[in-house]
């Protein structure tokens, strides 16, 4: 079993930045939910409320040139990887100014310039390409790492096993970040996995694994930095298991009939990564409100930006099919 990594300091300044970024993701997601319920956003939306510390902790440990592949729950990863909220919101509104220019939507967010190789709506679908990207880095002797985000549900699908096997076999610089929120849509981990410690799956391939409390952004950042260094130093891929909590439904509108409401409320009270960091930083109400106002303004501005954006021409649907 991987041992829980011990704490080492991250500067308070950095933590405050992490806090701001996590709060931005939270407010962004709340706004998305609000605008979806208002009927403004088409499609199928999954928000990452409760999992902000994983996105920010990992992405803030990345170096320039590192790449990520994300999941259907991608807004947090995308913001944390550097996409401006305007571009993200514009994508959710299906606008040309969006990060995928209106071709992708919430489940297919790309920002290649910033190293985001795409969110994937097929669970586990993005993992093999991360192995291939890492293989290309190795071929070229580039000190870059490819990072896949995925959930506990993805550890049951073939691409997960094939990707980890190949990555370990070829010792490519990849980090597999498992956001273990204990739910595969509505199916609890107890019904989808015969083992509780998912790092054993990586260890079965001989892969180095690390475990971290995914609600503690400082811990995530520190352990992710070690995982990335391991991969970057040519020591092989790493499986990074982040214990996290999905504090909302699988999708916006999910009534969560499958979930114990008392347990959910308990988690919302005790496992909110933003509240935990706020306490750790000892932020005063004034400081908190200032930050909150700042990010709220960014989020509001992103909605204005998106609504003022350009609708694609219907016939643009026939572009970008081929290079």
């Amino acid at each position: 079993m991987a041992k829980v990594e011990q704490r080492r300091g991250v500067s308070e300044e950095a933590l405050r930045e992490f806090f701001r970024e996590m709060l931005l993701i939270r407010r962004f997601e709340e706004k998305v939910e609000e605008r979806f319920r208002a009927g403004e956003l088409p499609g199928f939306l999954h928000v990452a409320i409760g999992q902000e510390a994983v996105a920010v902790g990992v992405c803030r440990a990345l170096a320039d040139g590192d790449v990520i592949a994300s999941t259907h729950r991608a807004h947090g990863h995308t913001l944390a990887k550097g996409t401006h909220p305007n571009e993200l919101m514009a994508e959710l509104y299906g606008k040309v100014e969006g990060c995928s220019h209106g071709y992708g939507g919430s489940m297919h967010l790309y920002d290649v310039e910033r190293g985001n190789l795409g969110a994937n709506a097929v669970v586990g679908g993005g993992l093999p390409a991360i192995v291939g990207a890492a293989l290309a880095f190795k071929f070229r002797g580039e000190p870059r790492v490819a990072v896949a985000f995925f959930g506990d549900g993805a550890t049951n699908i073939g691409t997960f096993h094939e990707s980890l096997n190949l990555a370990q076999l070829w010792q490519v610089p990849a980090v597999f970040v498992c956001e273990d929120n204990h739910w595969a849509e509505s199916t609890p981990e107890s019904q989808h996995s015969p083992i509780r410690d998912l790092s054993k799956r990586a260890e079965a391939f001989g892969m180095k694994s690390m475990k971290v409390d995914g609600q503690d952004v400082e811990e995530v950042n520190k352990v992710a930095a070690r995982a990335l260094k391991h991969a970057r130093d040519g020591k092989g891929p790493v499986f990074l298991l982040c214990e996290t909590q999905r504090l909302v439904g699988h999708y916006i509108g999910d009534p969560q009939v499958y979930r114990d409401k008392d347990e959910l409320h308990r988690l919302q009270e005790t496992a909110d990564p933003i509240e935990l960091l706020r306490e750790k930083l000892g932020l005063s109400d004034g400081e908190y409100e200032t930050l909150d106002r700042e990010v709220q303004e960014l989020v509001d501005a992103s909605v204005d930006f998106a609504k003022a954006g350009t609708d694609p021409k219907p016939e643009d649907a026939l572009k970008n099919v081929y290079a």
Binding site: S100, Y110, P128, A129, G132, A136, A146, E162, Y322
Partner: protein, 327 residues
């Protein structure tokens, strides 16, 4: 000019690309020491080493998927899926990932990946080692689909596939690997999307792919003896399709037969028939005839396999049916 087999022609395209371009590499099951289950990559490990001639686990999703990732980083991987039947295992990666990354990203990404595979009946492997599944991929926007039938075509088209910036599913036919042709040393790339007129004729156009190109040419010889002049076209690229070449030919001959080894139902020939009726409706003197496998999985017993897949006589009978309709 050296004589190259279809197998050697594939190898020659791969090798010449790898000699000239560090971004090209190959991976697949048993392709290194063994030289591939069809012997296509024999000797390549010695020349290029194990980094660029990569044996993989039996792991089709990861083979194709890691090829996608390397391609998105600007390399030009050529992955081998040992049998077409095993494309089913990597279908998700081909259809949802390779074909769509460019589109879903709004044009930010390119996936210059070539997926080589082979299949074909005639040696009694049974139902899971010889299917012809090319038609499944023709309907997936974002993919290009190639099916070459001669050494020269397979070499020139594979070169173009490697240097195409899109994912290409590249079909080879097992029974053609031994087919030989004199070819110049220098590769002449064949543009993707250009049909080949194999034989000119006046009375009937046969549009054939893969092994059936050769069956169609044999049928045309026999038809000639019976006084029927047959034109034979191999589209070579199924997507994009050279519709003009087909329509032009049918407007001349007024009759059309489509022929492939895959099952007739929903086969590639169905699409060709639709193109012909739409573009050459007023020129047609007879219904488009279809030649393909009977609607059954491939059986094991040689007599049954022989019965299920089409041969030259089936093409000849189809030719005769169209000319019997009268003008």
């Amino acid at each position: 000019m050296p004589e190259l087999s279809y197998r050697e022609a594939v190898r020659d395209a791969l090798s010449q690309a790898m000699r000239t371009d560090e971004d090209v590499f190959i991976m697949g099951e048993d392709i290194a020491e063994m030289g591939g289950s069809m012997g296509v990559t024999q000797g390549m490990l010695d020349e290029f080493g194990p980094e660029r001639v990569r044996n993989t686990p039996i792991s089709e999703m990861a083979i194709v998927g890691s090829g996608i990732g390397a391609a998105m980083q600007g390399m030009r991987p050529v992955v081998e899926v040992m049998y077409e039947d095993f494309l089913t295992i990597s279908m998700e990666q081909i259809v949802n990932q390779a074909a769509k990354h460019r589109y879903m990203s709004g044009g930010q990404l390119k996936v210059p990946l070539t997926i080589r595979t082979q299949g074909g009946a005639g040696w009694s492997p049974g139902a899971q080692h010889a299917q012809q599944v090319e038609a499944w991929f023709v309907g997936v926007p974002g993919l290009k689909v190639v099916f070459a039938s001669t050494p020269g075509d397979v070499r020139g088209l594979l070169w173009s596939a490697i240097y195409d910036d899109n994912p290409v599913v590249f079909f080879e036919h097992r029974t053609l690997y031994g087919l030989k042709e004199e070819l110049p040393e220098e590769i002449e790339p064949i543009p993707i999307g250009q049909a080949r007129l194999h034989r000119e004729g006046e009375d009937v156009t046969v549009v054939a792919t893969g092994r059936l190109v050769h069956e169609a040419l044999a049928a045309a010889e026999e038809a000639e003896r019976q006084g029927v002049s047959v034109e034979v076209i191999d589209p070579r690229t199924l997507q994009p399709l050279d519709e003009d070449a087909i329509a032009t030919s049918v407007k001349k001959t007024n009759r059309c037969v489509v022929a492939h080894e895959a099952v007739t139902r929903m086969g590639f020939g169905a699409e060709v028939a639709a193109v012909v009726q739409h573009q050459a409706f007023d020129w047609l003197d007879a219904p488009v005839e279809r030649v393909g496998a009977k609607f059954a999985p491939l059986p094991f017993a040689p007599v049954m396999e022989e019965y299920v897949v089409p041969h030259a006589k089936d093409v000849l009978e189809a030719i005769q049916r169209t000319v019997q309709r009268g003008a």
